[in-house]
């Protein structure tokens, strides 16, 4: 039994002039504890697919289920992390990380102390009484990670969470997220357009083609890379081989597009 199961998911957008098919016939499954990346050029619908998995958008076709339970609305076992932190500037860091628990009506001592322990895990315990604008971009994205993890979801959906950060911060954060997710045994789906990031972080990479978004190819990541932290994985010889391979596939997709 698959943990997360997508069956022939499709999404069509309507405007006055046209109906655009963003996604077509996406069938895939993710097993528990696995880290899967959706990779593809912009406009391939990978972020839309993430929103569908989260239950924020209803697909026009097909179904999404988590442990055989159909997802039709946001589910407490699914955590969603956006491109930018979107911490609420009018709340303190502490109130920001507790917002999910508050919304789900389970703001009890046990859950609060779990959230606070996550804060010390990522090394930001001393910022609890500050406001988001007093923190750097990397710190804020770490806080956003804690906010997502605080409700203890089983699966994390990461929508290009490092794309707004500078390169160095991004590399550090990749390691941190990877370690944290592994320690807590979380399943994760990462959307990215960064080939390197996908290789360094995931167990499996799903490559999407555009217009309409379809699964183009699936790449399992080699065991050598998987057991290393993202930063170390980037130094491994397997990394450049895989990078080259995916690069060529992406070129092919672009060529198909222009034809």
């Amino acid at each position: 039994m698959a943990f997360l199961q997508l069956k022939s998911v499709g999404q069509t957008y309507f405007s006055k002039q046209t109906a655009t098919t963003a996604l077509e016939d996406i069938t895939l499954s993710v097993s528990e504890g696995e880290f899967v990346s959706f990779l593809g050029p912009s406009g391939c619908g990978k972020s839309t697919l993430l929103s569908i998995i989260s239950g924020l958008i209803q697909p026009t076709n097909g179904t999404v289920s988590l442990r055989n339970q159909r997802i039709t609305e946001p589910h407490p076992k699914i955590g969603y992390m956006l491109q930018q932190d979107y911490l609420f500037p009018w709340k303190t860091i502490k109130d920001n990380i507790l917002v999910g628990l508050k919304l789900q009506g389970c703001l009890n001592d046990e859950r609060i102390s779990y959230a606070l322990s996550l804060m010390s895990e990522i090394g930001l315990s001393d910022t609890l009484d500050k406001y988001p604008n007093e923190l750097s971009g990397g710190m804020r994205q770490r806080v956003a990670l804690v906010r997502t993890l605080a409700t203890n979801p089983q699966i994390l959906l990461l929508d290009e969470p490092f794309s707004a950060l500078d390169y160095q911060t991004k590399l550090k954060l990749e390691d941190l997220v990877s370690t944290t997710l592994r320690e807590h045994g979380k399943t994760a789906v990462l959307v990215t357009h960064d080939i390197g990031e996908a290789i360094a972080m995931s167990d499996r990479i799903i490559l999407f083609s555009t217009k309409p978004g379809r699964i183009f190819r699936t790449f399992p990541v080699s065991g050598h890379l998987r057991k290393r932290l993202p930063f170390e994985a980037r130094q491994h010889p397997d990394y450049s081989v895989m990078f080259q391979q995916i690069w060529e596939e992406l070129e092919q997709i672009e060529q198909n597009d222009t034809e």
Partner: protein, 269 residues
């Protein structure tokens, strides 16, 4: 040497800053003194008609008399009560209306042209109808104060509701938050700056509404004093009332600014 230089330049900088503030304050004082001095002098010299333009000295004497016999406080109290009620209710109703329209997008599409028309229409013109409908009393004057501010408040606040970063709402939704929770946790707090600036505009508007209301009906209040002074050709009384209004309106504006500092510290929106 290396240590003293930066601290020296810093103290220079601070000194310069203080000098600039000082100059601004001095210029402000100069304008004040010049304006009232010139007014007094030209009135004494009969350059301007003292019957029409009065003089600061006459105004102050009249004010002192009215304070001494306590009669001014009835008028101030009346007008202030009406204005504060009109101001608070106008802003509150405007915000509620904006929330209602935000909640029901269908309603916003339906009401859009009506809001535009109501906003463009001079509300003061409804005054006579209000008085007949509600009676020549405090209610109709307060209603005037509300009417003049409520539509523009609705429009301004609804626009800022709509412009809240949708990803903030997405965060709430991803945790399974309801529409009410989206409103309470994101939309409303994100719009506090807009609500404050609506408050600032409404300070001025509600004074206009109430004074016009008093022009039309009242037997008490600063607007009544103005109209009465005009009828008996006592322009000293008119100008005195005007100065009191200016003073009170400024005070109200300052109060809103204090509220602003309390409500929206620590944010960069």
């Amino acid at each position: 040497m290396n240590k003293t230089t930066p601290s020296k330049t810093h103290s220079d900088y601070l000194l310069n800053l203080r000098k600039q503030t000082m100059n601004v304050r001095l210029s402000q004082l100069l304008i004040f003194v010049l304006f009232f001095g010139l007014w007094q002098y030209s009135s004494d010299q009969k350059w301007i008609d003292p019957l029409l333009f009065s003089s600061p000295q006459k105004i102050l004497t009249l004010l002192a008399d009215k304070i001494a016999d306590g009669s001014i406080f009835v008028h101030i109290g009346m007008t202030l009560t009406e204005t504060v009620i009109g101001f608070l209710l106008g802003t509150l109703l405007g915000t509620l209306l904006a929330a209602l329209i935000w909640w029901f997008p269908f309603l916003s599409r339906v009401l859009d042209p009506y809001l535009v028309i109501l906003n463009a229409m001079p509300k003061v013109a409804i005054g006579p109808i209000l008085i007949v409908a509600l009676g020549p009393n405090l209610t109709s004057i307060v209603a005037m104060g509300i009417l003049i501010s409520v539509i523009i408040t609705t429009i301004v606040i609804y626009t800022s509701f709509k412009n809240v970063e949708p990803n903030y709402v997405k965060v709430i939704q991803s945790f399974g938050g309801s529409k009410y929770q989206c409103f309470k946790e994101v939309i409303l707090p994100a719009c506090f700056p807009a609500i404050i600036s609506a408050l600032k505009v409404n300070v001025g508007l509600s004074w206009v509404g109430v004074i016009v209301g008093e022009f039309l009906v009242s037997r008490q209040g600063l607007g009544y004093l103005i109209i009465y002074g005009f009828q008996v050709f006592n322009f000293t009384l008119v100008l005195m009332s005007l100065l009191i209004i200016a003073l009170l309106a400024t005070l109200m504006y300052q109060l809103v600014e204090v509220l602003e500092k309390k409500l929206i510290k620590n944010r960069t929106l």
